[in-house]
Symmetry: D3
Subunit: 62 residues, 6 copies
Protein backbone atom coordinates (compact mmCIF):
# COMPACT_ATOMS: atom_id res chain seq x y z
CA UNK A 1 0.00 0.00 0.00
CA UNK A 2 2.93 2.33 0.20
CA UNK A 3 2.64 4.82 -2.63
CA UNK A 4 5.73 6.40 -4.19
CA UNK A 5 5.82 9.58 -6.24
CA UNK A 6 8.99 10.31 -8.15
CA UNK A 7 9.66 13.70 -9.68
CA UNK A 8 12.56 13.70 -12.07
CA UNK A 9 13.83 15.75 -14.96
CA UNK A 10 12.28 14.70 -18.27
CA UNK A 11 14.35 12.63 -20.67
CA UNK A 12 14.70 9.29 -18.94
CA UNK A 13 14.17 6.22 -21.11
CA UNK A 14 11.55 3.55 -20.65
CA UNK A 15 14.37 1.14 -19.79
CA UNK A 16 15.46 3.37 -16.92
CA UNK A 17 11.88 3.69 -15.68
CA UNK A 18 11.33 -0.07 -15.88
CA UNK A 19 14.47 -0.77 -13.89
CA UNK A 20 13.76 1.98 -11.36
CA UNK A 21 10.23 0.85 -10.49
CA UNK A 22 11.28 -2.82 -10.30
CA UNK A 23 14.12 -1.99 -7.91
CA UNK A 24 12.12 0.38 -5.72
CA UNK A 25 9.30 -2.15 -5.42
CA UNK A 26 11.81 -4.84 -4.42
CA UNK A 27 13.45 -2.59 -1.83
CA UNK A 28 10.09 -1.47 -0.46
CA UNK A 29 8.87 -5.02 0.10
CA UNK A 30 12.22 -6.02 1.60
CA UNK A 31 12.23 -3.19 4.16
CA UNK A 32 8.54 -2.57 4.86
CA UNK A 33 7.05 -5.98 4.14
CA UNK A 34 3.77 -6.51 2.29
CA UNK A 35 3.20 -7.77 -1.22
CA UNK A 36 4.74 -6.28 -4.38
CA UNK A 37 1.20 -5.86 -5.78
CA UNK A 38 0.45 -3.34 -3.04
CA UNK A 39 3.27 -1.01 -4.09
CA UNK A 40 2.25 1.77 -6.46
CA UNK A 41 4.77 4.14 -8.02
CA UNK A 42 3.89 7.25 -10.00
CA UNK A 43 6.51 9.11 -12.01
CA UNK A 44 6.33 12.77 -13.00
CA UNK A 45 8.60 13.89 -15.85
CA UNK A 46 9.37 17.51 -15.06
CA UNK A 47 10.32 19.91 -17.85
CA UNK A 48 13.49 21.93 -17.32
CA UNK A 49 11.49 25.13 -17.53
CA UNK A 50 9.40 23.92 -14.58
CA UNK A 51 12.15 23.14 -12.06
CA UNK A 52 14.16 25.79 -10.25
CA UNK A 53 17.08 25.39 -7.87
CA UNK A 54 18.63 28.45 -6.25
CA UNK A 55 16.11 30.71 -7.96
CA UNK A 56 17.07 29.73 -11.53
CA UNK A 57 15.10 27.51 -13.89
CA UNK A 58 17.11 24.55 -15.20
CA UNK A 59 16.17 25.61 -18.74
CA UNK A 60 18.17 28.82 -18.18
CA UNK A 61 21.38 27.08 -17.18
CA UNK A 62 24.01 26.54 -19.80
CA UNK B 1 -11.68 24.96 0.74
CA UNK B 2 -11.13 21.25 0.57
CA UNK B 3 -8.77 20.56 -2.32
CA UNK B 4 -8.92 17.28 -4.22
CA UNK B 5 -6.17 15.83 -6.39
CA UNK B 6 -7.09 12.93 -8.64
CA UNK B 7 -4.45 10.84 -10.34
CA UNK B 8 -5.87 8.58 -13.01
CA UNK B 9 -4.67 6.77 -16.08
CA UNK B 10 -4.77 8.96 -19.17
CA UNK B 11 -7.54 8.44 -21.67
CA UNK B 12 -10.64 9.64 -19.86
CA UNK B 13 -13.01 11.84 -21.86
CA UNK B 14 -14.02 15.37 -21.06
CA UNK B 15 -17.53 14.06 -20.39
CA UNK B 16 -16.18 11.72 -17.71
CA UNK B 17 -14.14 14.51 -16.14
CA UNK B 18 -17.13 16.87 -16.15
CA UNK B 19 -19.33 14.31 -14.46
CA UNK B 20 -16.65 13.28 -11.96
CA UNK B 21 -15.88 16.81 -10.72
CA UNK B 22 -19.57 17.70 -10.50
CA UNK B 23 -20.30 14.60 -8.42
CA UNK B 24 -17.29 14.93 -6.15
CA UNK B 25 -18.09 18.57 -5.47
CA UNK B 26 -21.69 17.65 -4.63
CA UNK B 27 -20.59 14.84 -2.30
CA UNK B 28 -17.96 17.05 -0.65
CA UNK B 29 -20.45 19.80 0.16
CA UNK B 30 -22.99 17.25 1.37
CA UNK B 31 -20.59 15.57 3.80
CA UNK B 32 -18.23 18.36 4.84
CA UNK B 33 -20.44 21.42 4.40
CA UNK B 34 -19.23 24.69 2.89
CA UNK B 35 -20.00 26.18 -0.49
CA UNK B 36 -19.41 24.44 -3.85
CA UNK B 37 -17.28 27.43 -4.91
CA UNK B 38 -14.76 26.56 -2.20
CA UNK B 39 -14.12 23.07 -3.61
CA UNK B 40 -11.15 22.80 -5.97
CA UNK B 41 -10.34 19.62 -7.87
CA UNK B 42 -7.17 19.03 -9.86
CA UNK B 43 -6.82 16.07 -12.18
CA UNK B 44 -3.56 14.50 -13.29
CA UNK B 45 -3.67 12.29 -16.38
CA UNK B 46 -0.92 9.74 -15.81
CA UNK B 47 0.74 8.04 -18.76
CA UNK B 48 0.88 4.24 -18.62
CA UNK B 49 4.66 4.38 -18.76
CA UNK B 50 4.60 6.48 -15.57
CA UNK B 51 2.52 4.24 -13.32
CA UNK B 52 3.79 1.01 -11.82
CA UNK B 53 1.96 -1.55 -9.72
CA UNK B 54 3.81 -4.57 -8.38
CA UNK B 55 7.05 -3.35 -9.91
CA UNK B 56 5.79 -3.34 -13.51
CA UNK B 57 4.86 -0.28 -15.58
CA UNK B 58 1.32 -0.41 -16.97
CA UNK B 59 2.75 0.23 -20.45
CA UNK B 60 4.53 -3.14 -20.19
CA UNK B 61 1.41 -5.15 -19.44
CA UNK B 62 -0.37 -6.85 -22.27
CA UNK C 1 -6.30 2.58 -9.62
CA UNK C 2 -7.36 6.16 -9.47
CA UNK C 3 -5.78 7.73 -6.40
CA UNK C 4 -7.44 10.61 -4.57
CA UNK C 5 -5.76 13.01 -2.21
CA UNK C 6 -8.00 15.23 -0.12
CA UNK C 7 -6.64 18.20 1.79
CA UNK C 8 -9.10 19.61 4.27
CA UNK C 9 -9.04 21.69 7.39
CA UNK C 10 -8.51 19.59 10.52
CA UNK C 11 -11.47 18.85 12.75
CA UNK C 12 -13.62 16.52 10.68
CA UNK C 13 -15.03 13.51 12.49
CA UNK C 14 -14.41 9.89 11.66
CA UNK C 15 -18.06 9.63 10.66
CA UNK C 16 -17.57 12.37 8.07
CA UNK C 17 -14.42 10.72 6.74
CA UNK C 18 -16.14 7.33 6.53
CA UNK C 19 -19.04 8.78 4.58
CA UNK C 20 -16.81 10.88 2.33
CA UNK C 21 -14.54 8.02 1.23
CA UNK C 22 -17.49 5.68 0.69
CA UNK C 23 -19.25 8.24 -1.50
CA UNK C 24 -16.17 9.24 -3.49
CA UNK C 25 -15.33 5.61 -4.15
CA UNK C 26 -18.89 4.98 -5.35
CA UNK C 27 -18.85 8.03 -7.62
CA UNK C 28 -15.41 7.14 -8.97
CA UNK C 29 -16.45 3.63 -9.95
CA UNK C 30 -19.70 4.91 -11.44
CA UNK C 31 -17.99 7.47 -13.67
CA UNK C 32 -14.60 5.94 -14.43
CA UNK C 33 -15.38 2.24 -14.14
CA UNK C 34 -13.06 -0.27 -12.46
CA UNK C 35 -13.43 -2.00 -9.13
CA UNK C 36 -13.94 -0.26 -5.78
CA UNK C 37 -10.87 -2.10 -4.48
CA UNK C 38 -8.70 -0.20 -6.95
CA UNK C 39 -9.71 3.20 -5.55
CA UNK C 40 -7.34 4.62 -2.95
CA UNK C 41 -8.09 7.81 -1.04
CA UNK C 42 -5.65 9.61 1.23
CA UNK C 43 -6.78 12.42 3.51
CA UNK C 44 -4.57 15.17 4.89
CA UNK C 45 -5.88 17.08 7.90
CA UNK C 46 -4.40 20.55 7.53
CA UNK C 47 -3.87 22.73 10.60
CA UNK C 48 -5.31 26.25 10.40
CA UNK C 49 -1.82 27.68 10.88
CA UNK C 50 -0.73 25.81 7.74
CA UNK C 51 -3.34 27.04 5.26
CA UNK C 52 -3.40 30.53 3.83
CA UNK C 53 -5.92 32.14 1.50
CA UNK C 54 -5.38 35.67 0.27
CA UNK C 55 -2.08 35.89 2.13
CA UNK C 56 -3.54 35.27 5.59
CA UNK C 57 -3.30 32.07 7.63
CA UNK C 58 -6.68 30.70 8.69
CA UNK C 59 -5.43 30.63 12.28
CA UNK C 60 -5.19 34.43 12.14
CA UNK C 61 -8.78 34.99 11.07
CA UNK C 62 -11.37 35.75 13.70
CA UNK D 1 15.77 22.57 1.65
CA UNK D 2 12.28 23.93 1.57
CA UNK D 3 10.55 22.55 -1.50
CA UNK D 4 7.81 24.50 -3.25
CA UNK D 5 5.22 23.07 -5.62
CA UNK D 6 3.20 25.54 -7.65
CA UNK D 7 0.10 24.48 -9.53
CA UNK D 8 -1.12 27.09 -11.95
CA UNK D 9 -3.24 27.29 -15.07
CA UNK D 10 -1.23 26.60 -18.20
CA UNK D 11 -0.26 29.50 -20.42
CA UNK D 12 2.29 31.42 -18.35
CA UNK D 13 5.40 32.57 -20.19
CA UNK D 14 8.96 31.60 -19.42
CA UNK D 15 9.57 35.20 -18.37
CA UNK D 16 6.82 34.93 -15.76
CA UNK D 17 8.19 31.62 -14.49
CA UNK D 18 11.73 33.01 -14.30
CA UNK D 19 10.59 36.01 -12.30
CA UNK D 20 8.32 33.94 -10.05
CA UNK D 21 10.97 31.41 -9.01
CA UNK D 22 13.58 34.13 -8.46
CA UNK D 23 11.22 36.08 -6.22
CA UNK D 24 9.96 33.09 -4.26
CA UNK D 25 13.51 31.90 -3.65
CA UNK D 26 14.49 35.37 -2.42
CA UNK D 27 11.48 35.58 -0.10
CA UNK D 28 12.06 32.05 1.19
CA UNK D 29 15.67 32.74 2.14
CA UNK D 30 14.72 36.07 3.69
CA UNK D 31 12.03 34.58 5.93
CA UNK D 32 13.26 31.04 6.64
CA UNK D 33 17.01 31.48 6.29
CA UNK D 34 19.27 28.97 4.55
CA UNK D 35 20.99 29.23 1.20
CA UNK D 36 19.23 29.93 -2.12
CA UNK D 37 20.79 26.73 -3.49
CA UNK D 38 18.73 24.72 -1.03
CA UNK D 39 15.41 26.04 -2.36
CA UNK D 40 13.74 23.86 -4.98
CA UNK D 41 10.60 24.93 -6.82
CA UNK D 42 8.55 22.69 -9.09
CA UNK D 43 5.84 24.11 -11.32
CA UNK D 44 2.88 22.19 -12.68
CA UNK D 45 1.07 23.70 -15.66
CA UNK D 46 -2.52 22.54 -15.27
CA UNK D 47 -4.78 22.26 -18.30
CA UNK D 48 -8.16 24.02 -18.04
CA UNK D 49 -9.89 20.69 -18.54
CA UNK D 50 -8.10 19.37 -15.45
CA UNK D 51 -9.05 22.05 -12.90
CA UNK D 52 -12.50 22.41 -11.42
CA UNK D 53 -13.84 25.04 -9.05
CA UNK D 54 -17.41 24.81 -7.79
CA UNK D 55 -17.93 21.57 -9.68
CA UNK D 56 -17.24 23.02 -13.14
CA UNK D 57 -14.09 22.52 -15.22
CA UNK D 58 -12.43 25.78 -16.25
CA UNK D 59 -12.53 24.57 -19.86
CA UNK D 60 -16.34 24.68 -19.67
CA UNK D 61 -16.55 28.30 -18.55
CA UNK D 62 -17.12 30.96 -21.13
CA UNK E 1 -6.16 30.11 -8.33
CA UNK E 2 -2.52 29.21 -8.20
CA UNK E 3 -2.00 26.77 -5.35
CA UNK E 4 1.29 26.58 -3.49
CA UNK E 5 2.51 23.69 -1.37
CA UNK E 6 5.51 24.31 0.83
CA UNK E 7 7.37 21.46 2.48
CA UNK E 8 9.79 22.64 5.13
CA UNK E 9 11.52 21.23 8.15
CA UNK E 10 9.39 21.48 11.28
CA UNK E 11 10.19 24.17 13.82
CA UNK E 12 9.26 27.39 12.08
CA UNK E 13 7.32 29.92 14.12
CA UNK E 14 3.87 31.28 13.38
CA UNK E 15 5.51 34.65 12.74
CA UNK E 16 7.67 33.12 10.01
CA UNK E 17 4.69 31.37 8.45
CA UNK E 18 2.61 34.56 8.52
CA UNK E 19 5.34 36.54 6.82
CA UNK E 20 6.08 33.80 4.29
CA UNK E 21 2.49 33.38 3.08
CA UNK E 22 1.94 37.15 2.91
CA UNK E 23 5.07 37.62 0.81
CA UNK E 24 4.44 34.68 -1.50
CA UNK E 25 0.88 35.82 -2.11
CA UNK E 26 2.12 39.32 -2.93
CA UNK E 27 4.79 38.01 -5.31
CA UNK E 28 2.32 35.61 -6.96
CA UNK E 29 -0.21 38.36 -7.70
CA UNK E 30 2.56 40.68 -8.91
CA UNK E 31 3.98 38.16 -11.39
CA UNK E 32 0.96 36.09 -12.41
CA UNK E 33 -1.87 38.56 -11.91
CA UNK E 34 -5.22 37.64 -10.37
CA UNK E 35 -6.60 38.48 -6.95
CA UNK E 36 -4.88 37.70 -3.65
CA UNK E 37 -8.03 35.84 -2.56
CA UNK E 38 -7.42 33.29 -5.30
CA UNK E 39 -3.99 32.31 -3.95
CA UNK E 40 -3.98 29.30 -1.64
CA UNK E 41 -0.86 28.17 0.19
CA UNK E 42 -0.55 24.93 2.15
CA UNK E 43 2.40 24.28 4.41
CA UNK E 44 3.68 20.86 5.47
CA UNK E 45 5.93 20.73 8.52
CA UNK E 46 8.20 17.77 7.88
CA UNK E 47 9.80 15.92 10.79
CA UNK E 48 13.56 15.42 10.59
CA UNK E 49 13.06 11.66 10.68
CA UNK E 50 10.94 11.96 7.53
CA UNK E 51 13.35 13.87 5.27
CA UNK E 52 16.42 12.33 3.72
CA UNK E 53 19.11 13.94 1.59
CA UNK E 54 21.93 11.85 0.19
CA UNK E 55 20.44 8.72 1.70
CA UNK E 56 20.58 9.92 5.32
CA UNK E 57 17.64 11.10 7.43
CA UNK E 58 18.12 14.59 8.86
CA UNK E 59 17.39 13.17 12.33
CA UNK E 60 20.57 11.10 12.03
CA UNK E 61 22.86 14.02 11.29
CA UNK E 62 24.76 15.62 14.13
CA UNK F 1 17.62 16.18 -8.08
CA UNK F 2 15.04 13.48 -8.28
CA UNK F 3 12.62 13.94 -5.41
CA UNK F 4 10.78 11.00 -3.88
CA UNK F 5 7.63 11.19 -1.79
CA UNK F 6 6.64 8.07 0.10
CA UNK F 7 3.21 7.69 1.67
CA UNK F 8 2.99 4.77 4.02
CA UNK F 9 0.86 3.65 6.92
CA UNK F 10 2.09 5.04 10.23
CA UNK F 11 3.98 2.76 12.57
CA UNK F 12 7.25 2.13 10.80
CA UNK F 13 10.39 2.33 12.93
CA UNK F 14 13.28 4.71 12.48
CA UNK F 15 15.41 1.70 11.55
CA UNK F 16 13.05 0.86 8.69
CA UNK F 17 13.04 4.47 7.49
CA UNK F 18 16.85 4.66 7.66
CA UNK F 19 17.23 1.50 5.63
CA UNK F 20 14.53 2.49 3.13
CA UNK F 21 15.98 5.92 2.30
CA UNK F 22 19.51 4.54 2.04
CA UNK F 23 18.39 1.82 -0.38
CA UNK F 24 16.19 4.07 -2.50
CA UNK F 25 18.97 6.64 -2.81
CA UNK F 26 21.40 3.91 -3.87
CA UNK F 27 18.97 2.52 -6.46
CA UNK F 28 18.16 5.99 -7.76
CA UNK F 29 21.81 6.87 -8.36
CA UNK F 30 22.46 3.48 -9.92
CA UNK F 31 19.61 3.77 -12.44
CA UNK F 32 19.33 7.50 -13.09
CA UNK F 33 22.87 8.65 -12.40
CA UNK F 34 23.73 11.85 -10.50
CA UNK F 35 25.08 12.27 -7.00
CA UNK F 36 23.49 10.82 -3.85
CA UNK F 37 23.42 14.35 -2.40
CA UNK F 38 20.95 15.39 -5.09
CA UNK F 39 18.38 12.76 -4.04
CA UNK F 40 15.73 14.02 -1.63
CA UNK F 41 13.17 11.70 -0.05
CA UNK F 42 10.17 12.84 1.98
CA UNK F 43 8.10 10.39 3.97
CA UNK F 44 4.49 10.88 5.02
CA UNK F 45 3.20 8.68 7.85
CA UNK F 46 -0.49 8.25 7.10
CA UNK F 47 -2.93 7.49 9.91
CA UNK F 48 -5.23 4.52 9.37
CA UNK F 49 -8.24 6.81 9.64
CA UNK F 50 -6.87 8.81 6.71
CA UNK F 51 -6.39 6.04 4.14
CA UNK F 52 -9.22 4.31 2.35
CA UNK F 53 -9.13 1.40 -0.08
CA UNK F 54 -12.33 0.16 -1.67
CA UNK F 55 -14.32 2.86 0.10
CA UNK F 56 -13.41 1.76 3.64
CA UNK F 57 -10.97 3.49 5.99
CA UNK F 58 -8.21 1.19 7.23
CA UNK F 59 -9.13 2.17 10.81
CA UNK F 60 -12.51 0.49 10.25
CA UNK F 61 -11.11 -2.86 9.19
CA UNK F 62 -10.76 -5.58 11.75
Amino acid sequence: MPTYHIEMMEGRTIEQKKKLVAEITRVSVEVLGGLPESVDILITDVKRENWSTGGVLWSERS
